[in-house]
């Protein structure tokens, strides 16, 4: 698996560098536009998870690399696990870069004493690290779930065919349920356990709640990726290349 992982990292390295530059720019714009530094690590974390899952799948089909790769001393299992390890690595790189960039911008804003709403929004506050951690971990979960959904489909169908049906799958899985829930009024108290969820969200305001929240979000991300990897292993084992 280590070989497959390192190969993935080599292949994605140049694109990742471009992605970091682009991500910093995009996240800075979003952060300034939304007037909160929280948006920066959130954007980069989510972006890196999704882009690495999609980008690595795109490289598979260049010059039939996917086929040739199996002539190297790698098993299909190595390839699947190497892919997930690479996605997680790039996702975490995005998270770290996002946090660092947000802290740098906040420091710069504080140092130069930027006036106005932007200056206020980017001012250092004591609870900022905790809130930033929770928000970033939440986007880690979003990125991990999206990667977990798309990666098995890429492994089963290949990037070209998967790209044709992924928009439909994304709409079915992520958009329609939200629309149905929103229009049904269930979010206003109709769903069993909503009170528990509200209580959990309130608990996130406490330091201990934030720590527990972050652990739960990271754990859920790991579970999603593990389930997805298990599905990918099954699907890729039977794939005819």
């Amino acid at each position: 698996m280590k070989s497959a992982y390192l190969i993935e990292m080599t292949i994605f390295r140049d694109y990742a560098r471009q992605l970091i530059a682009l991500g910093i720019l995009v996240s800075a714009c979003i952060g300034l536009g939304m007037q909160t530094p929280l948006a920066m690590p959130a954007t980069l974390t989510c972006m890196f998870f999704m882009m690495s899952a999609m980008g690595l799948a795109a490289y598979d089909q260049l010059n039939h690399w996917e086929l040739f790769r199996l002539t190297l001393p790698l098993s299909r299992k190595d390839i699947v696990l190497g892919r997930y390890a690479a996605i997680v690595t790039f996702g975490l790189i995005g998270m770290v870069v996002g946090v660092v960039v947000a802290l740098v911008i906040m420091t710069v804003v504080a140092t130069i004493g930027l006036p106005g709403e932007v200056g206020e929004a980017f001012a250092w506050e004591a609870d900022m690290p905790g809130v930033m951690s929770v928000v970033t971990c939440f986007t880690l979960l979003i990125g991990a779930v999206v990667s977990s959904v798309v990666t098995p489909i890429y492994f089963r169908l290949g990037q070209t065919r998967a790209t044709q049906i992924l928009p439909t799958i994304i709409v079915l899985l992520f958009v329609i349920p939200v629309v149905i829930l929103g229009n049904s009024g269930m979010l206003d108290g109709g769903i069993p356990g909503m009170e528990l969820l509200s209580g959990a969200l309130e608990a996130l305001d406490t330091p201990m709640g934030m720590v527990v929240g972050c652990v739960i979000l990271v754990a859920l991300s790991a579970v999603a990726l593990c389930i997805s990897a298990a599905i990918s292993l099954k699907l890729y084992e039977k794939r005819e290349l």
Partner: protein, 306 residues
């Protein structure tokens, strides 16, 4: 057919061994392919486009499940090559496909890194030397390489991880004659080492005449002949006859009816002669040329039989 694939016996010397390999697709099937490559051999694998050469090679490499038959490469079931228990066997197999197979944004130096990560026996110095000999600049990207240079890169990789077996699918396609000479020299050196062998599919049969020990031809998913190359090129001949000569040759019985194959032209008829020296003694008035692999394949696949 003149020479059906001989029965393949299981021996320790065989680096590739396939029995009754079968795979069905819509409109095409591999039909009971038998193939063997022994230590020290260069086996030329020929056939028309779409005959099943690449499919056979991919089946041997375990890139898809087959519908029947068995195959082993370096003693490992092909189906296990992509599994954890068989993946390490591929350390000793060098593979080149008919087109460059690396993501195009990578530099040649990156390809070296990828191989170094994949193969424990990767010889970076050898790769650098071969790449230099073949005119490959480490800073160039795959996308900037011509087809010929891309094939050189693939061959340089296959020759740089101490493989025992090379499986080359149209690996010399796109190479200029001088580059082909260099590569054929490298392949000769490779197979001269103990325990090594090459399976090489090619449409450039002149390359196979220079390097192959045995020629295996596939047509429409079936092996149609499997013969030592010298039998084709040194013993066989092609008689340039008039139409009337065909009956005369047939009536003498010098060529068994089952082996008598011919190809009509506007200007006469070409007849496959299993032993051109014996034929020349019996029919001194009929010109007999040396048989080439192309001639033999054409007569076998397209020629008429009595």
């Amino acid at each position: 057919m003149h020479a059906m694939a001989p029965d393949i016996e299981t021996t320790d010397d065989l680096l590739i061994e396939a029995h009754g390999l079968t795979k069905h697709y819509d409109g095409f099937s591999l039909q009971g392919v038998d193939l063997a490559v022994a230590e020290g051999e260069v086996v030329g694998f020929i056939g028309q486009n779409g005959a099943g050469k690449s499919t056979t090679i991919r089946a041997l490499l375990g890139l898809f499940p087959t519908d029947g038959g068995t195959s082993q490469v370096l003693g490992c079931e092909s189906s296990a090559l992509s599994r954890t228990e068989g993946a390490r066997v591929k350390e000793e197999i060098g593979v080149v496909f008919d087109a460059i197979s690396f993501p195009e944004h990578l530099k040649i130096a990156d390809i070296g890194r990828i191989y170094a990560r994949a193969y424990t026996n990767w010889d970076a110095r050898r790769f650098a030397r071969i790449a230099k000999d073949l005119g490959l600049d480490a800073k160039k990207t795959v996308k900037s390489l011509s087809r010929g240079m891309g094939m050189k890169l693939s061959l340089a990789c296959a020759l740089s991880h101490n493989a025992r077996l090379l499986i080359l699918d149209e690996a010399t396609a796109g190479l200029d004659p001088m580059a082909r000479d260099e590569i054929l020299d490298q392949l000769r050196d490779f197979v001269a080492e103990p325990g090594h062998a090459i399976l090489m599919s090619s449409h450039i049969t002149s390359d196979l005449e220079r390097i192959a020990d045995r020629i295996v031809c596939i047509d429409n998913g079936r092996i149609v002949f499997d013969l030592p190359k010298d039998v084709i090129t040194d013993e066989m001949g092609i008689a340039r006859c008039r139409v009337a000569d065909l009956e005369k040759i047939a009536n003498t019985g010098i060529i068994p009816d089952a082996e008598l194959r011919y190809l009509r032209h506007d200007y006469g008829i070409d007849v496959l002669v299993p032993d051109r020296f014996a034929f020349a003694e019996n029919f001194p008035e009929i010109a007999v040329d040396r048989m080439t692999i192309d001639d033999y394949m054409t007569l076998t696949l397209k020629g008429g039989a009595r």
